[in-house]
């Protein structure tokens, strides 16, 4: 018996408010469904957050609709539970309700288990929607009910969308000790990282998100890959292997110093050009005194043609102990300093005038000055 485990697909998520990002999430989902079919699995479990919100865009609904039909056509059962994102916080119907007649089996606290049969084999599939931590009493009661029901079957899978203290100590609803210990496979969702651990009578796994839901998840992707798990329940011990997706959009994460900005940006641009798909560029600019407006306009101009989007962050560096910003009683005469430094009075004059206009961030005037200077041929 082969099970495909996917989770946290967040369909309909329009990251950075970009249509392309919404499409990215659909593309990765479709790729995974195709790959799962190729693996000849018997059933898929989706452990929550199928959609980004309880009111997904129609496109997201269509994507799921076609996947449900495709799986049904291949005779693959599809179990899903509503997650934290795709059910209403107060009251409402989850979008999953649309797909039950098409063959999706939605497990909720009202109907928290099903027995999947194929040939002479059977698997007890249990699960229910994400339960928030203020309803932990109900959560524990459901778990103990499922645990005793499960004891009637040989192979059993528990599908949950909950955070577990031991893996995510900052915010959790359950501790490992509170999970029933008689299941063979625990298909978990909610935590976006891939986690596999021996537990109960077999394995516990978070299959993680399928696209980088935020920048940090892209780093996880680089290390661990993203996608689904294929679990083989035929033997005494479950066997698990990764099923990776290839179409995750690249993120390009870089830090630069504010000095030599132009040069550095051009160097980055040439690196970005090499990507097949336009990457999402995350650029952190460090420096003592950053002219944010200037940096922003330069970075967008140089990098945008080759990137899907450029996300800028600034890090104001602090003076190191012992350093101080120069303080003098008399005002510095800039023109004098330029003449002193550059020797050639014409160049010095240009430098000074450029300095004056650039200080006001007047790029146009600076261009004009430079052109005049060049065309005058004084150089």
């Amino acid at each position: 018996m082969l099970i495909g485990h996917i989770s946290d697909t967040h369909l309909g998520f329009r990251q950075y408010n970009l249509e392309e990002r919404e499409e990215d999430f659909y593309r990765v989902y479709n790729e995974l469904v195709e790959k799962l079919i190729e693996e000849h699995i018997d059933l898929v479990v989706h452990s929550g957050d199928l959609f980004e919100s309880p009111r997904p865009p129609t496109k997201a609904l269509l994507v799921v609709q076609s996947s449900v039909l495709k799986l049904r056509e291949k005779g693959i059962a599809f179990y899903a539970i509503p997650g934290g994102h795709d059910q209403f916080k107060r009251r409402g119907l989850p979008p999953h309700a649309l797909f039950e007649r098409l063959g999706m089996k939605v497990l909720t606290h009202r109907k928290p288990y099903d027995v999947f049969k194929k040939g002479n084999q059977e698997v007890f599939v249990a699960g229910f929607q994400h339960v928030p931590k203020h309803l932990k009493g109900a959560l524990l009661a459901l778990l103990s009910q499922l645990s005793s029901e499960a004891s009637k079957y040989k192979k059993k899978v528990l599908v949950l969308h909950q955070s577990i203290k031991e893996f995510f100590p900052i915010d959790y609803e359950l501790s490992l000790a509170e999970l029933p210990d008689n299941f063979n496979y625990y298909a978990l969702g909610h935590i976006h990282k891939r986690i596999v651990k021996e537990f109960g009578r077999g394995l516990l796994a978070y299959s993680g998100s399928t696209e980088a839901w935020n920048r940090k998840e892209y780093q996880d992707y680089v290390k661990e890959g993203k996608g689904a798990y294929i679990v083989d329940l035929s033997g005494d011990e479950p066997l698990i292997h990764k099923l990776d997706v290839s179409s995750v959009r690249p993120h390009f994460i870089e830090e630069i110093q504010v000095n030599k900005l132009n040069y550095q940006l051009r160097k980055l641009a040439s690196q970005i050009k090499e990507f097949e798909v336009k990457p999402i560029v995350h650029l952190t600019v460090r420096g003592l005194a950053i002219n944010r407006k200037l940096v922003r306009s330069l970075a967008y101009r140089i990098l945008s043609p080759h990137a899907l989007t450029v996300r800028l962050e600034f890090e104001q560096e602090r003076l190191i102990e012992g350093e101080s910003i120069l303080e003098t009683t008399s005002k510095l005469d800039m023109r004098e300093l330029m003449y002193e430094e550059l020797k050639n009075p014409r160049v010095a004059e240009l430098a000074y005038r450029l300095f004056e206009v650039l200080r006001k961030e007047d790029l146009e005037e600076a261009k004009k000055l430079a052109r005049e200077f060049y065309e005058a041929g004084i150089f």
């Binding site: 209403f88 107060r90 606290h109 009202r110 009493g137 009661a141």
Partner: protein, 510 residues
């Protein structure tokens, strides 16, 4: 006989040699220990208390070695050969409670003291008493204690756990509050903060540590910097001084105090001239950080002093249940010192808190131990000595009297001693108290729950008292564990049912 008593019951006669304070008697009745009796001599009615009793038979002595002999004697003997012998402690004449200078003559009749006489003695004729219970031997006689004497001469409540200490404290505190007084309980086990008093809800004061108000020695205690770590103390004082300077000059807000101290310490650790002491400085910095971690939930830079939150006519409770012993010590010591100085200011200059306060210290053996020094111990002993003049009364409550500081305990002129089993505890209490006689001490192990020996100036004569049961709810009584388990599981089931209904609401069915 005379003096208009209705029923006079002779229960025996004095025999043998008597002293002005003690006389032996032989009885035909079976009196009880602690019972009050009246003897008439020197033209006075003199009150006494039965302190010990023996009962025996002339024919069945200890020299019989044959059980069958006893069997035979039993058949022939009537109770006429039995005797009851006892000793009476003379307490004084009924009117003035002065002890006559002559002993009672032999064969003086011993009467049972009638309840009217006793009511007079234990009654509330001064109007400043509160009822704490009834006499064990005569339950129709209520016992009042004189609050003026109790507050000015302090009180110790001593007993093993479960003998009724908390109940006694609650009765007294409620009584004082009902009289319109002010009680302040340092509640080590969060027993009183949820209690329902007749005087109304207690005024619960949150236990908070305000580093800005603490003295340097209190801070050092919280930091665990003892006197032997003089280098650490030096650097801490230096950093504290700097931080306080900044605070006073308005450069920083109160809530930055500990942070500034930490940064100061870090600065020292980087300076070359302090290099040899670097490890000491780092250790202080660690301790400051540890303090912030440990007391995160009780540190409040804007918390008012306990003294400023006291309310008249209410039971004031400082809930120390959430803090460890060190923090409790600091909070108690700080509150006591500011209470004393506030009361002193009031008596001398009319500023400060205008009413006297009765302070109850639970687990007094932790706050004022015999063989260790704590911050509170100093202030407890000072209030024990000076409190009378400034209207601060102390009540020390302890289940381990022998671990209590003897100097402080001996200042507690009133005592309510409930059941005490351990002989060394009994001896210790006896040594500390002038009025607790050997015979009474012998009574201590045989007291039942809620029964006490009440001694000192707050009662005219020592009494064996059955303390009233406090009606409001108190936590701290022994838990019915089995019931608690059962209740808990039914609560969990109910909770699950309610919460599942909420899940039904969240996720509609389709």
């Amino acid at each position: 006989m005379v003096l208009g008593d209705k029923v006079r019951k002779v229960i025996g006669y004095t025999i043998g040699e008597a002293t002005p304070t003690k006389v032996t008697f032989i009885s035909k009745e079976v009196p009880t220990v602690g019972q009050y009796v009246v003897l008439e001599y020197c033209d006075k009615r003199v009150l006494g208390m039965i302190q010990s009793l023996v009962r025996g038979s002339v024919s069945i002595t200890e020299n019989i070695y044959d059980p069958t002999a006893v069997e035979r004697i039993r058949i022939f003997e009537n109770s006429g050969t039995h005797y009851i012998k006892g000793t009476i402690k003379i307490l004084g004449d009924v009117e003035s409670l002065k002890i006559p200078r002559t002993p009672p003559p032999p064969a003086t009749e011993v009467y049972e003291a009638d309840s009217n006489t006793l009511r007079q003695i234990f009654g509330n004729d001064s109007g400043v008493g509160i009822k704490i219970g009834v006499l064990i031997s005569q339950p129709n006689v209520p016992v009042y204690v004189d609050i003026n004497k109790m507050v000015s001469r302090h009180l110790a409540i001593l007993a093993i756990t479960g003998a009724g200490k908390s109940n006694t404290v609650a009765i007294i505190a409620d009584g004082i509050a009902q009289l319109g007084g002010a009680v302040l309980i340092f509640d080590m086990h969060s027993e009183y903060s949820t209690a329902r008093f007749k005087s109304g809800k207690p005024n619960v004061i949150q236990a908070r540590i305000n580093p800005v108000n603490l003295s340097t020695s209190e801070l050092l205690k919280l930091l665990n910097i003892d006197q032997s770590s003089f280098k650490q103390e030096r650097y801490f004082r230096k950093a504290l001084k700097e931080a306080k300077r900044k605070l006073l000059s308005g450069l920083i807000h109160p809530d930055q105090l500990l942070g500034v101290i930490q940064r100061e310490l870090e600065r020292y650790s980087e300076e070359d001239r302090y290099k040899p002491d670097r490890s000491s400085i780092m250790s202080v910095a660690n301790k400051v950080e540890g303090l912030l971690d440990r007391y995160e939930h009780v540190i409040d830079y804007y918390a008012p002093d306990v003294v400023d939150q006291l309310k008249l006519g209410r039971v004031n409770v400082v809930d120390l249940g959430q803090v460890d012993e060190e923090a409790a010590d600091v909070i108690v010591s700080h509150s006591l010192s500011s209470l004393l100085s506030s009361r002193k200011r009031y008596t001398t200059r009319g500023e400060g808190i205008p009413f006297p306060v009765f302070v109850v210290l639970e687990e007094a053996h932790i706050l004022a131990p015999k063989d260790r020094s704590t911050l509170s111990k100093y202030w407890i002993s000072r209030i024990a000595r000076e409190g009378r003049k400034f209207g601060i009364g102390l009540c020390l409550v302890s289940q381990r009297p022998k671990a209590l500081d003897p100097n402080t305990l001996s200042q507690m002129n009133n005592m309510i001693v409930l059941r005490l089993v351990e002989p060394s505890d009994q001896r210790y209490v006896q040594e500390a108290s002038e009025t607790l006689s050997e015979d009474l001490v012998e009574q201590l192990p045989s007291l039942n729950v809620g029964e006490a020996i009440v001694l000192g100036m707050m009662v005219k004569i020592p009494a064996l008292v059955k303390i009233d049961k406090f009606e409001g709810k108190l936590i701290g009584g022994d838990l019915d564990v089995v019931r608690a388990w059962k209740r808990c599981s039914s609560i969990l089931t109910k909770k699950a049912v309610v919460e599942t209904r909420e899940l039904d609401n969240m996720l509609e069915s389709w």
